[in-house]
């Protein structure tokens, strides 16, 4: 019996605020080539390519037309998931599990520096009910943060401590966009962008591309590798209509996590997972993710922060790479989380490696107020 799907290697470009000397194609080519080299395979060995990106942010209405080639798909069996990059891992893994394919590339990218991100996000709303409110990703995220904050009487210090924690980790990550630590007071006095979110509570906007090489268990055995295994994954979507949702609860994340834990045979995530890389597009969001992932009961995420449970040195380090608060290549961020989780399990994270990681969790999220969520378990 196989052990599901193996990850043989990852490739990432440096994440920066603005990649002025690289076109989108160049970034994608760099990530893809690096992943192939890291996995010690060539493009000839690849029989499946799954790419993922956001057309509207790319400014092209079928973005895969130009980016399938630099991603390595020339004359290959290729398809595109148009969602958060990490959904590419799901489809690629399923394609391998059918037995029709052996070796797959998964590639995602985002170049926010050349896109009017806020406008693109506003245009995501339906024209009849939501769009007239003029909400973008930040204001809708603030809505969610506000509900969570009031419901659980969250002390203002808690989200600020999440920022300090992630920026401190980001300072160790040589690939991160923001590599400077911040002080608690700086976070708490930074300007409000949309109450209760302050500038430093929000993820920056960055440029970056990343890629993974996935193999069927048969192929991994044949190549005689000691890979990292994708032992579980799950995903789910919530309602589009914010009025119909409890914004303090990431319902679709709970469902996605449940599926991933079941597949990976995890009973107590808090004990069985060594590190987690989560999509924290705001500091408040990271707290809600703890609850969605079942690390604690609803409303108790603040206790984990107070105890330092999720610090680098804590029992379950969350975002040792610095997370989205340090680097946020938008629709590729989730795939970057999977790459970072891979590096931690493979012991290749370098400067920001956490010791003794045997099993890691990665999380990606898409849509307004985290409408869709995906969870991945990576094991030795």
């Amino acid at each position: 019996m196989g052990r599901g799907v193996a990850i043989l290697g990852v490739g990432m470009t440096r994440i920066e605020g603005a990649k002025k000397d690289q076109k989108l194609d160049d970034m994608v080519f760099e990530a893809s080539s690096k992943a192939l080299a890291e996995a010690s395979v060539t493009r000839d060995d690849i029989d499946s390519v799954v790419i993922s990106g956001c057309d509207e942010l790319d400014g092209r209405c079928i973005s895969s037309m130009l980016l399938a080639m630099p991603a390595g798909a020339y004359l290959k069996d290729e398809t595109k998931v148009t969602d958060e990059g990490c959904y590419g891992v799901i489809l690629a893994a399923m394609r391998l599990m059918t037995g029709l394919f052996d070796l797959s590339l998964v590639v995602s990218w985002c170049k926010t520096s050349e896109a009017p991100v806020s406008d693109v996000m506003r245009m995501r709303w339906d024209p009849f009910y939501h769009r007239p409110f003029g909400m973008n990703h930040i204001t809708s995220s603030a809505l969610m943060a506000g509900v969570y904050k009031s419901r659980y009487s969250l002390p203002l210090e808690i989200p600020a401590r999440v920022v300090v924690k992630n920026r401190k980790s980001g300072a160790k990550n040589l690939n991160a966009h923001l590599q400077s630590p911040v002080k608690l007071q700086e976070v708490r006095t930074s300007p409000v962008v949309s109450w209760p979110l302050r500038v430093l509570d929000c993820a920056p906007e960055s440029d970056g591309a990343c890629a993974l090489v996935l193999a069927s268990s048969r192929k991994a055995r044949e190549l005689k590798r000691d890979p990292v295994w994708l032992s579980g994954f799950g995903w789910a979507a919530d309602s589009y209509y914010l009025g119909g949702r409890d914004l303090s609860d990431l319902r679709s994340l709970r469902i996605a996590a449940g599926k991933a834990y079941k597949m990976a045979k995890i009973k107590n995530p808090l004990k069985e997972i060594d590190i987690a890389e989560v999509s924290d597009f705001s500091s408040y969001h990271e707290l809600m993710v703890y609850e969605g992932l079942g690390f604690c009961n609803p409303g108790q995420a603040q206790d984990l922060i107070k105890e330092g449970f999720t610090d680098r040195e804590g029992a379950l380090p969350v975002n040792p790479s610095g997370g989205l608060l340090s680097s946020n290549p938008f629709t590729a961020s989730g795939l970057f989380r999977v790459c970072e989780a891979y590096l931690q399990v493979a012991g290749n994270a370098g400067n920001h490696q956490v010791k003794g990681v045997k099993r890691a969790l990665a999380h990606g999220s898409s849509g307004f107020c985290a409408q869709g969520n995906a969870v991945f378990i990576l094991s030795q």
């Binding site: 057309d55 509207e56 895969s64 037309m65 399938a68 069996d77 399923m94 789910a236």
Partner: protein
Amino acid sequence: MKTKAAIVGVGQTHYKSYHNYTLPELSMQAAVAALDDAGMTINDIDAVVYSMGPSEFLGVNEPDKWCVDAAGGRDNPFMRIHTGGATGLSAAQAGFHHVAAGLFDAVLVVGADKVRECIDSQQVLNTIWDPLYERQFGLTTITMAAFQAVRHMYRYGTKEEQMALVAVRSWGNACNNPVAHLKGHITVDDVMTSPYYCWPVKKYDMCPSSAGGAAIVIVSKKKAMKLSTRPAWIRGCSEVANTVFLGDQMGGRSEMDFADSDILAMAAKAAYSQAGIRNPAKEIQVAELYAPFTVCELSMVEALGFCRKGESGRLNEEGFFNMNGGIAVNPSGGTLCANAIAITALARVCDGALQVMGKAPPKMQVKNVRNAVCTGEGGSFQFHAVMVLSADYY
């Protein structure tokens, strides 16, 4: 390939102009129709794949998120597939992969599009090309198709009248399809005297802009045996990508020619081999092809191995691709008679499945269908997807 999944339900809305329904509403109509057809409810569905192509026709970014509730995606695994014109077939394949991976028993593949309501779809389609090189040439899908037509004429001596016959046959077939957008008994003369949009492509050589929704239900083999006496078994799946640049798709060191759908031939070869089909011209009875221009169909039937390169024009004249010919090509009228881009290729799968299941409308049904091939084409004729459906699972 060991057969692992089948289509047990098919749903389509009428393709036309919809000013009174939103995208989620069209998605839901299609989803409900497919579930009804399968004798299932949304509670029987384990995962949803949403088929949505370019969102720019609609003017709502990432509209799949808007459709989550209407498509039954709430609390379910939900993902959107988008490969341009091939989207619907890529989505059907993704749905197949969900089931064939052993993770799900029943998957709903659904989508909708409202290209009809876009003010100028060709303006949008110009932005599919590279902003630095090809966009400036004023490339649209019409001018791109004209390139292929000219090349096919040059290489094989194909005549405009032979292309016109494709439109005549498709429009005639569409008369038997209650959901087709355009239909009617037209003549070669009608096509030949219709205005040129870009020589040699004329008005009747082109597909319309339509709106509508389509959906299929894919289930595991075990479930299919229980649910349906005659499901459409998914026997072969493949999709292949080529470079975007038209200039690189032929000439130089490229062994391919823009007249030929060589990428389709590659995808078909893989799908046929999975399905155990050795002689497609003999073993396939129905082809539902994503051919938005008449020339595309001539090029595609050659790539699918129904005849040799350059023979399709003559065979078309001889009626080989008619309803009662050797292989019925687009008995539904195909893309020339309805094109709601995001789901046009899914409609091909719907119509192919109906033929295999024996459930097509009476006059549209081809007799004794064992195998049907469905295709999708996207980008600058660069993405080609193929699915082989069969009445037998072995």
